[in-house]
Symmetry: C2
Subunit: 365 residues, 2 copies
C-alpha cells in the first residue's frame, strides 16, 4: 500500500480515530464508494482515478496515463460500483446537470407531451430534468422560482409562465430562462420557443371564412399571452373580411375542461344560433363539447368546435374536434438545442425559435 492516501485514510470509517458513528448507521447504510475508495483499491492517487474516469467519460482517445493504470482504475471502479457524485462534481465545477421545467399543469396533455419530449432531448445531452408543477397557481410558481434557485440548475424552462413579481425577480439571476409557448412578459428578457400564435389564429379565421362560419363565438383566456395572440389573429382576419364577433360572443374561460364547460353553458343559454366555436385550447373544447351536447346541439352538424394544441388523445377520443396542431414532440428538441447553445455560449443564439403549426380539420363540412 502506497502512503499517498494515509491522511484521508485515517479519517475513513474503518480507521477512524475519532468517535465512531452509531453502529446502526454503519450497519444499515454503508458509505458509498468515493474516488478515495477506488484509488485505494487500484493503488493509485485520486488524481489518477479522476483523470482516467474523466477521459473515459468524455470519449477522448488517450489520456496522460499508462494503459495498465487505466485498467486498474476501471476495474476498481467497476468492482465497487463507483458512480461519481453529482453533488461533489457540481460543487467543484459550478455546473449542474439539472434543468428545471416549470409547467402549469402536467395533467394537461400538451404539457405532458412537451415534458416527455423535453426530458428525452435533455437526456441526449446528458442533462436531467426536474419537473415542477405550478397547478395553475401564480403563487406556487413564485415559490418554486425561489426554491429552484437553491438547486443551481443549468437553466429554467417555463411553459406558459405567469407574469408575477417572483418571475421578475428570478430572471435577474444569472440562470438562463427559456419561455415556452407563452412569451416572456414585457421587460423580462429570456428566450422563447413556441409557435406563431397570431398567425395560427389568422389561419383558423381563414377557414371560418371559407366555411361561412360567421355566426361564431370565442371562448378564450386573455390572461395567457399565447391565447390572447391566437384570438387577436383570429379577430383581425375576420375583421379584414368585414366579419365582427360581438363582445357578447367573446367569453372568458380558464384553460381547463371544467371551466370550458361552465362558460360554454352560459354562452349557449344566451345565443342559440351559433355555427362555430373557437376555443382557447383543446381542454376548453372538451368541456364545450359536453355543453353543446346538453344544449341539444349536434356537434359538427349544428355547431363546429375548434380547439388549439391537438392533444394526441384527440385522434382517438375527439374525432369531432377541429384544431390547430402544435408539434408538442418537436418542442423538446428545440428547447434543448437552444439551451445548449446558450450554456455553451455559441456565436449565434436566436432569441426566438418558432415551430410550424398546421390546421387539423377532422370533419370538413
Amino acid at each position: 500500500m502506497s502512503n499517498h492516501l494515509s491522511k484521508r485514510f485515517l479519517n475513513s470509517p474503518a480507521f477512524s480515530v475519532r468517535e465512531p458513528a452509531p453502529s446502526y448507521v454503519q450497519m444499515s447504510v454503508p458509505r458509498r464508494p468515493t474516488v478515495f475508495d477506488v484509488a485505494q483499491l487500484a493503488n493509485v492517487s485520486i488524481a489518477t482515478v479522476s483523470r482516467v474516469l474523466h477521459t473515459q467519460a468524455r470519449g477522448e482517445q488517450r489520456g496522460r496515463f499508462s494503459k495498465e493504470t487505466a485498467e486498474k482504475v476501471l476495474d476498481a471502479a467497476r468492482m465497487l460500483g463507483y458512480q461519481p457524485s453529482e453533488l461533489g462534481r457540481s460543487l467543484r465545477t459550478a455546473k449542474t446537470r439539472l434543468v428545471a421545467f416549470l409547467v402549469p399543469d402536467v395533467a394537461n396533455d400538451f404539457c405532458a407531451d412537451v415534458a416527455v419530449s423535453l426530458q428525452a432531448a435533455l437526456r441526449s445531452h446528458g442533462l436531467a430534468m426536474m419537473l415542477c408543477n405550478a397547478g395553475e397557481d401564480p403563487d406556487v410558481q413564485d415559490e418554486y422560482l425561489s426554491e429552484i434557485k437553491a438547486f443551481r440548475v443549468t437553466a429554467m424552462v417555463m411553459l406558459a409562465a405567469f407574469d408575477t413579481p417572483g418571475l421578475r425577480v428570478a430572471v435577474q439571476d444569472s440562470t438562463p430562462f427559456l419561455f415556452v409557448n407563452r412569451r416572456p412578459p414585457k421587460g423580462v428578457n429570456g428566450h422563447f420557443v413556441g409557435i406563431d400564435n397570431r398567425a395560427a389564429g389568422r389561419h383558423v379565421a381563414e377557414y371560418f371564412l371559407t366555411q361561412k362560419y360567421t355566426d361564431c363565438a370565442i371562448i378564450h383566456w386573455p390572461h395567457s399571452d399565447a391565447v390572447r395572440e391566437r384570438v387577436v389573429g383570429f379577430i383581425d382576419r375576420l375583421a379584414e373580411a368585414g366579419v365582427a364577433v360581438p363582445s357578447g360572443r367573446r367569453i372568458e374561460a380558464r384553460l381547463t375542461i371544467e371551466d370550458g364547460y361552465r362558460q360554454a353553458k352560459k354562452l349557449l343559454s344566451r345565443s342559440k344560433k351559433l355555427r362555430a366555436l373557437f376555443c382557447g385550447n383543446d381542454q376548453v373544447a372538451y368541456g364545450v363539447y359536453r355543453a353543446c351536447g346538453e344544449a341539444g346541439l349536434r356537434v359538427h352538424d349544428d355547431v363546429a368546435i375548434f380547439g388549439f394544441d391537438d392533444n394526441h388523445i384527440n385522434e382517438w377520443l375527439a374525432p369531432w374536434l377541429n384544431t390547430v396542431h402544435v408539434p408538442a414532440t418537436a418542442f423538446g428538441p428545440a428547447i434543448a438545442d437552444l439551451l445548449v447553445k446558450i450554456t455553451e455560449h455559441h456565436a449565434h443564439i436566436p432569441r426566438e425559435v418558432l415551430l410550424p403549426f398546421e390546421l387539423n380539420i377532422r370533419r370538413p363540412a
Copy 2:
C-alpha cells in the same frame, strides 16, 4: 471589519491574489452570494449566518444568538438575495432534497396524475421531484437507474417498474425503493403502494356475472404484474361461477392506445359475438373503442368495454367506458408519507400500502 474572514476573503474574486478569472466570465456571470458574502455584509462569522438561517428555516423559536445579530444576518441575506446552495448543503449533510420518479410514460393520463399528486405531496415535505420517463423501454429504465444514483437522491419511486438486471443491481444500493402500482419483482425488496389488483379484477368479474356477460374477451399485458393480477382475479371469479374464457379470447396488447386498437382489430375479426371486453387499462380501452366502431359494433348496445384506472379524461371524452377507478390523486400523498416514514426511520413502516378502488359503471345496462 473583523478579521475572522480574512483568509477566505483574500481568495474572493474582489481581492484575488491569484490569476483572476477571464473578464467575460466575471462580467456575464457574477458569483452567486454565499454564506461568506452574507457573513461579510452582516459583519459576523459564517457559523452565525448558518445558525440564524437554520433555526429560521426549521421554524424553531429561539436560537443561540442575540436578536440583533439575527436581524443583521437576515437583512444581509435578504439584501443579497441569498439562497443556500443545495449542493453544499447536500454534500455536507449527505442528504438530498431530490426524489426520483421513474415512470413508463408520462403522456399516459394515469402516470401524469400520479406525477402531479406526488410532486405536490413531496413539496409539502420540502422535497423536489426529478421526473424520468422510460418511454416503456426497459433499457432506458436501466440507464436511468444507474444515472440517477449519481444524484444521490433521497429515494427512488418507480411506477410500473420493469424487472430488469439493472433494477436488481440498483436495489442493492442503500437508497430506498418504492414501487407503485406494480409490485417489486420476486426477490427484490422494496415498498409498495397501489391497489389490490386481484380483488379489483374479481370485482369486475362479479359485475360481468350479474350482467350475464359470459361471452367476453380479455385484452391484457401479462408482462405487467399489475395487469396480470387483475386478469387472474377476473378469471378466477368467473371460473368460480363456471364461466371460462377460452384462450382464443385472451389476447395480448401492450398498454398503449395503438396496440389496444391493433390487437382488438385482430380479435374482432375472429369472434363477432362478444358481449363485453375487459381491457388491461384505459389506454387500451380507447383503442379497443375505435376497433369496435370500425367493426360495426355499437359500444354499450352491442358490446360493453371495461377499462382500468379511470383517467380523468373519461368523464368528458369516454362516457361509454366502464372502468375501475384507481385513486391516482391519492397515490402522491400515500407515497410521500411512506417515504418520509422510511427516511425518518419511523417505528412502524408498512411494507405495502393498499389504496381503495371502486367500479365506475358509466352506462349500466
